[in-house]
Symmetry: C2
Amino acid sequence: MKKLINDPENVVDEMLDGMVAAYPDRLRRLDGTNVLVRNDAPVDDKVGIVSGGGSGHEPTHAGYLGNGMLDGAAAGEVFTSPTADEINEMIQACDAGEGVLCVVKNYEGDVMNFDTAAEMAAMEDVDVEQVVVNDDVAVEDSTYTSGRRGVCGTIFVHKVAGAAAERGEDLAEVQRVAEKAVDNVGTMGMALTSCVTPEKGEPTFDLGDDEIELGIGIHGEPGVERTDMMDADEIATELTTAVLEDVEPDGEVATIVNGMGGTPLSELFIVNRAVQDHLEDESIETWGTWVGEYMTSLEMAGCSVTVLDLDDELKGLLSDPANTPAFTV
Amino acid sequence: MKKLINDPENVVDEMLDGMVAAYPDRLRRLDGTNVLVRNDAPVDDKVGIVSGGGSGHEPTHAGYLGNGMLDGAAAGEVFTSPTADEINEMIQACDAGEGVLCVVKNYEGDVMNFDTAAEMAAMEDVDVEQVVVNDDVAVEDSTYTSGRRGVCGTIFVHKVAGAAAERGEDLAEVQRVAEKAVDNVGTMGMALTSCVTPEKGEPTFDLGDDEIELGIGIHGEPGVERTDMMDADEIATELTTAVLEDVEPDGEVATIVNGMGGTPLSELFIVNRAVQDHLEDESIETWGTWVGEYMTSLEMAGCSVTVLDLDDELKGLLSDPANTPAFTV
């Protein structure tokens, strides 16, 4: 598998330098770490919002650093949790005295290291709270999790929490709205191809020329069901139906049609057309939709569909300005 | 080759519907055509800026519709020029009486059909001017062109022309700054893999597991040189050196590290790191850089490097606000 990399061991280090080189006025790297923070962190009079996890999901998470979303993003090696030490450094760098909310995707390593880091930061008198995102409706337990996995719905949690923090809400209130977003969001993904990690250089699972995987995660783990190839409309219906059964929206929704890394934007729009048609058939009104690559799995071809059930409060928070490399309102 | 599509014949039609479904408050489709325009087109007291070309390069061009960039984008079938009739309809829909500038990538079909459309629109008393973008430094003539191909540098031309139009400049002045951008921009691309068109379902060229193509275009045509696999730093140096020899910047530059469709963002940042290092070694200062997928070739893995030599006027125009699905300032 050919990749645009140098030494596989340096992929994360060089990627982070390349991000800072792309956005030198927005991001900086904490010395000697794989943590990126907003240039102006800690931001006065604002709860800090941080996240992190394994690399290979770009633009997650560092692409969401900036006004109205995240203050800090800790990057682990590819598909590997960041260390508790580095998460702790990030929390402290993003605390302006108002406390810090950690948005954590539900993987055992991430949850454990964020827990440890929160304890370390608390010993330095930082108020730290955590929300765990578990939006993947495909599996209850997986290779990497007890309970459901955290996937693309995390972007909505970043947005909602970031907006509340930017409004000057206190830590408890920011945590409350973030939990509300977690409670109301669901995602399901599928793959046409596996991904290939830089270290291994081989597909993490094999998939035939006429097969697809439904219910994949974002770490190259196979899905919950292997089926024959379907067309885009059928795939969109399958994913959207599964998410709606879980989320059970009773009002307007926000949706994300997310590319897994190797799928052209044209195909994501074809999927979005089918997703929106399906929602209309179900008499569910879409208040806003995002189509693009938000949480990827290296060069995997495939997509996920995310649905967030909205109320007026969530709509307001999603509408607030956000100015980050990968998400702008 | 598996794709997230339905009938290959409906790819463009369904993609355009999916784009409008994603941005219903920003875009609309001209009835019975493959033309998308800004919802508020024609914009009063403003020169219209339009572009177009074959599909398969998304977000090019419709992703750049909006305030500060394009008013209209005509989509042909995949890698096929839009028709003169549809381009003419677009020009007329985007003319508010101040005239229309067509930004055309240098491919024979595109240039011919835009020429014909301009004549048709002129008969309806629309002032139409054209700039032809030919930024690809790899080849003088190619399968599709006499002269150099138009590739990712076109995004800078959209931005510069769009900003001048938004300022209220007249058609001649908008054309002048667009030509200045064309004169000062160069691009070179490379591929790790071929792309696969929906109609054919097979790679348009074959490339070994240890080979890459330098100097590729955006239509699945092979490049000008096939070489052994190189690492990201070597590839970045090769591309940047070729572009700098052509552009010969004497001041600050703006750069784009563009993904061809199937390359993860992490790899593009690794390339950006090397590009920026190379520029620094050459004592060339980067005023701004963009890293992402701006002009793709379906799911091709690879990248291109674009360099625009700047003066104060171009910096000002690049700094003006732009609010489009794929490009925001």
